[in-house]
């Protein structure tokens, strides 16, 4: 796109740009407003949350109807300016993130009763939200760095919101991880800029594809992926995640586990698929797959051994991220075609399902914790039984985490296994199977507490503002994504004819 044509189609650009820009700017503005007017924070925050979610839906609809959107800010030459772009994958993740975000916002209304906590929460949360949307929609490598930092800072600050020693320790570690990781990423960006002189992902992609594969590409990729792998808590670099996620307040845990980690993963995926595909071969993907397998097994095992509910959920996140990495060797080994499309969609589907499910899980876990005063799994019996809706949310989210039908991750796992068998990499099937068994074990370790000799609950829902969002998210992860994942293919612009063989 030349500058002229950009100017010419400005009107159309504007219209298309609006939802993208709003999805990022609304929460940013909201953050500013809630900072400035702390008393009104919950009200303003909720309004902004609704608006942002609306913008995200608008974005998705726009991508659905018109295909990928590429928007150069400022009307400058694309190599010079920063671009926003929303393709199917970004739109899907934005939609998920914002729906989850909306639910978290509603939940937070009920969760943060003390005004000073709420005042701290809202601006940071909205900043985090802005960073997430910015990340998903970014088309510029350096802008991604800024977004990563914003995300990292906001997330660490939110995670430490309880102010306990554990929380601060864990989140300081998280902050440092984020910093070192994003600096490493930035180093990779700097190398790329050295070689190609541009930061726009699209331009870089064609430049890399046009060039011979060079060691510098390899070095840049290594640095960027290394940084992002740390941020996405890929085994064994997940060491920071469980304490940080487990010590955060429930809505924050939900956001961290469901969204923030996903953002880093999304970047790896983008780099891997969009930018560096020409220089990749199977072995590098296999390395990621192996680490993913380690994550699946170790994370699930640790979740099974965890004493506390939120720690369990955090380790479960480690495992779930591992599943996503299992797709890399399969994608590398599958030639373009319906099979690869299916794998890609399955990967996304698992990410989305995990987003919804984990958020729902953490929110429900938070509620249990609030109610019981603790979250030691072994002593949760009565509480779980007193809160049927919450337990139900845990169960639904849990079955999505396990990958039981009809959840979205079931479809994802089905296609994952199918891909593994088709490419002859059957060992991932073994990993997936073991992981599923372990996850079933840890989920039902929790659920079995709900069956005790405790008194009967009077009604299904006891605290609608807190319970309904969790339940809705869990329900989405199970029913909507599991039974109607077809549109995802359309959104991704993939050949929807399917066909396994």
């Amino acid at each position: 796109m030349t500058p002229e044509s950009a100017f010419d189609s400005a009107a159309l650009d504007n219209l298309l740009a609006a939802p993208l820009v709003l999805a990022i700017m609304l929460p940013l503005l909201g953050s500013a407003l809630t900072t400035a007017l702390p008393r009104l924070a919950p009200l303003l925050g909720t309004l902004i949350a609704v608006g942002t979610a609306g913008a995200a839906i608008w974005t998705t609809v726009a991508v659905w109807t018109r295909g990928p959107i590429h928007l150069v800010l400022g009307g400058w030459d694309p190599s010079l300016a920063i671009a926003l772009r929303a393709d199917g994958m970004a739109a899907a993740l934005v939609l998920m993130a914002n729906l989850v975000g909306l639910a978290i916002s509603v939940y937070a209304l009920g969760y943060f009763r003390a005004p000073d906590r709420a005042q701290s929460f809202w601006p940071l949360w909205l900043l985090l939200w802005a960073a997430l949307n910015g990340l998903f929609l970014a088309g510029d490598l350096f802008n991604l760095y800024v977004m990563l930092e914003l995300l990292g800072l906001a997330a660490a600050a939110l995670g430490a919101l309880t102010g306990s020693r554990d929380a601060i320790t864990a989140n300081l570690r998280y902050l440092l991880v984020g910093l070192v990781a994003s600096l490493t990423y930035l180093f990779g960006v700097a190398l790329l800029y050295t070689a190609y002189g541009t930061l726009d992902i699209g331009l870089l992609s064609s430049a890399i594809a046009a060039d011979e594969p060079s060691p510098l590409d390899a070095a840049a990729l290594t640095l960027m992926v290394a940084g992002l792998a740390m941020k996405s808590a890929l085994f064994p670099l997940h060491f920071w995640l469980p304490p940080a996620h487990a010590s955060a307040p429930a809505p924050v845990s939900a956001a961290l586990s469901a969204l923030v980690v996903k953002a880093a993963f999304y970047l790896i995926l983008r780099l891997w698929l969009d930018l560096f595909e020409p220089i990749l071969d199977l072995s590098a993907s296999m390395l990621l797959g192996l680490l993913g397998a380690g994550a699946v097994l170790w994370g699930s095992w640790q979740a099974l051994r965890a004493e506390r509910l939120k720690l369990l959920a955090a380790y479960s996140t480690v495992a779930q991220i591992g599943y996503l990495f299992l797709f890399f060797p399969l994608l590398a080994a599958t030639p373009p075609g319906p099979s690869r499309d299916n794998l890609l969609a399955a990967l996304l589907l698992m990410a989305l399902t995990h987003g919804f499910a984990k958020a729902g899980f953490f929110m429900a876990a938070g509620l249990v914790q609030t109610n019981a005063g603790h979250d030691r799994i072994d002593d949760l019996g009565g509480t779980a039984q007193r809160l049927p809706a919450t337990t139900f949310a845990i169960a639904l989210a849990g079955s999505a985490l396990i990958g039981l039908p009809p959840s979205g991750s079931f479809i994802g796992k089905w296609l994952l296994m199918q891909g593994a068998i088709e490419t002859g990499q059957w060992w991932w099937v073994v990993v997936g199977t073991l992981g599923t068994l372990l996850s079933a074990a840890y989920i039902f370790r929790v659920l079995s507490r709900a069956f005790g000799l405790e008194p009967t609950p009077i009604k299904f829902v006891t605290d609608a503002r807190a319970e309904v969002p969790a339940l809705m998210l869990s329900l989405v992860s199970v029913a909507v994504l599991g039974l109607a994942s077809g549109p995802l293919w359309t959104l991704l612009g993939l050949n929807a004819s399917g066909g396994g063989a």
């Binding site: 049927p388 079931f410 089905w414 296609l415 296994m417 199977t433 068994l437 039902f444 079995s448 009077i458």
Partner: protein, 501 residues
């Protein structure tokens, strides 16, 4: 038949219990009436819809609901003669069991939870019955696992949670193996529906090794629920569940689902002739035979009435697998008709066991002296069920046994007669002593824990009538076996279609 109705009906049948089930969760615990209305509404509505379906399939109509959940992955609900057989069984028995359960749980806690899952359980079972491809089957198979888990754990005692965990460990592992098998198969075949006569016979010989491995996986997965030795360990453990649940597990849902799945795989996926060529049937028949004998032997050693019945189920359900494992329409008829016959007979027995426990506190065979005096009608129903299990004509069980025997001879597997003979002797060995105690031994001084109901009947009406009705059904199914619309007629219809006669 109206076209839109034809495409909706199977789906509606599944939903007819799922929706009321979901609503029941929301019902306040003390709203006894509302819950009962919802329960019965769902049960009766489903029965009516199934009635329409029976009529339609009899007329040779194709009923099929399809839902694309992802490209290439379709949820197919298809009504053929086989599905109708199983669906009708579950629906009829569900109605009766619902009435029974309402009476059984009259004063116990957590009824909304119970009945909610109860309805889901039946929805899943009917979904299994109507599943038109392996994917759909797997989905409902897993949902069934999930829906029954809370029922098994319902009592909340430590034994109950333990039993439920063991149940879950077995069934989830099984489900996973099934999943792997299904996925693997799909990579070879692409998306295929169940087709009468099977779909795999055209596969090239070099794939036969894989097909055998897949069969092993599928069989292992289905064998867990069908309680084929050595995968039966969960079944006696899950006897901690309330009696209606045991009835449901043993007669209608779980065990049957496994056996039904074996039938589906053998006939509609592999094709019985092809399976025989691969040598799979021989393995299956040996496994089934071992199970039949082993289950009976174990049953003889049990003093607990329900565990004895549980082992009896282990033994009896393998009749179905045995029927599937013998090449020839007659054996097929025997296996299929036993699907129904075992259901009504075993549910009668469990109802009765529940009545003894609930009315007299009698849980063990050794406590059953003289119960025939105190509860003659229940004991009469029990007698019918037990004699039917032994295979005494003209009760339904004989019909299955006859066709199995004849089918075995037809398939030139004369040794199966020996198995049938041994099974008959062993069944008599563990059932007749019960009858002897019940009818011929004097009453004890006092019952372990007698519960006086406000009724002139021997026990509460809601408890008394269900076993009496099912006992009558056992007799009718036997006495009118050759009449139109009898289970036997349906089984013959199915066999005719499977063998293309």
């Amino acid at each position: 038949m109206n076209n839109s109705l034809a495409t909706l009906l199977p789906g509606l049948i599944v939903l007819s219990s799922m929706v009321p089930g979901a609503m029941i969760f929301l019902v306040r615990e003390e709203s006894h009436l509302l819950r009962t209305v919802l329960n019965l509404f769902g049960a009766v509505l489903k029965l009516l819809l199934v009635g329409v379906m029976v009529w339609a399939v009899w007329q040779g109509n194709e009923l099929e609901s399809r839902l694309v959940i992802a490209p290439g992955l379709e949820l197919v609900l298809h009504a053929d003669a086989l599905s109708v057989l199983f669906a009708t069984l579950s629906t009829v028995l569900w109605l009766i069991t619902t009435i029974y359960a309402i009476g059984y749980l009259e004063h116990s806690p957590n009824r909304s939870r119970f009945f909610g899952f109860f309805s889901l359980c039946v929805s899943a079972t009917v979904g299994i019955a109507l599943a038109g491809n392996l994917l759909t089957f797997v989905i409902f198979y897993e949902i069934l696992t999930l829906a029954t888990y809370p029922l098994v754990a319902h009592r909340g005692t430590p034994e109950a949670t333990r039993g439920a965990k063991i149940y879950l460990a077995y069934t989830l592992t099984g489900g996973l193996l099934l999943l792997v098998g299904a996925v693997w198969l799909r990579t070879l075949t692409g998306p295929v529906d169940f087709v009468e006569g099977g779909v795999l016979s055209g596969m090239p010989p070099e794939l036969h090794g894989q097909l055998i491995a897949i069969f092993a996986l599928l069989l292992a997965g289905l064998g867990v629920k069908a309680a084929i030795v050595p995968l039966h360990g969960w079944l006696p453990q899950s006897m901690v569940a309330p009696a209606p649940v045991s009835s449901l597990l043993h007669a209608v849902a779980v065990v049957k689902a496994g056996a039904f799945g074996i039938v589906r795989v053998v006939y509609d996926v592999y094709g019985v002739t092809f399976a025989s060529e691969l040598g799979l049937l021989a393995v299956l028949s040996v496994l089934a035979s071992v199970t039949i004998v082993y289950g009976s032997l174990m049953a003889m050693t049990q003093d607990g009435l329900k565990t004895r019945l549980a082992y009896s189920t282990v033994s009896q359900v393998s009749y179905i697998a045995l029927g599937a494992s013998l090449l020839g329409p007659v054996a097929t008829i025997g296996g299929l008709v036993h699907l129904v016959h075992q259901g009504i007979m075993k549910i009668t027995l469990f109802f009765c066991a529940g009545n003894y426990a609930e009315t007299l506190g009698v849980h063990k065979v050794s406590q059953m002296d003289g119960v025939g005096r105190r509860m003659p009608w229940t004991t009469l129903a029990f007698t019918v069920g037990a004699l039917g299990m032994i295979g005494i004509p003209p009760i339904a069980g004989f019909v299955s046994k006859w066709y199995l025997g004849l089918g075995a001879v037809e398939a030139e597997q004369h040794w199966v007669l020996l198995i049938l003979a041994a099974s008959t002797m062993l069944n008599a060995g563990y059932f007749l002593p019960i009858l002897y105690r019940a009818w011929f031994r004097p009453l004890p001084e006092a019952w372990p824990k007698e519960h006086v109901f406000d009724t002139r009947f021997e026990t509460m009406g809601a408890l008394l009538w269900p076993p009496v009705i099912t006992a009558v059904l056992c007799l009718v199914a036997g006495l009118l076996a050759a009449a139109p619309f009898s289970p036997l007629e349906w089984a013959q219809l199915i066999a005719k279609r499977e063998y293309g006669l």
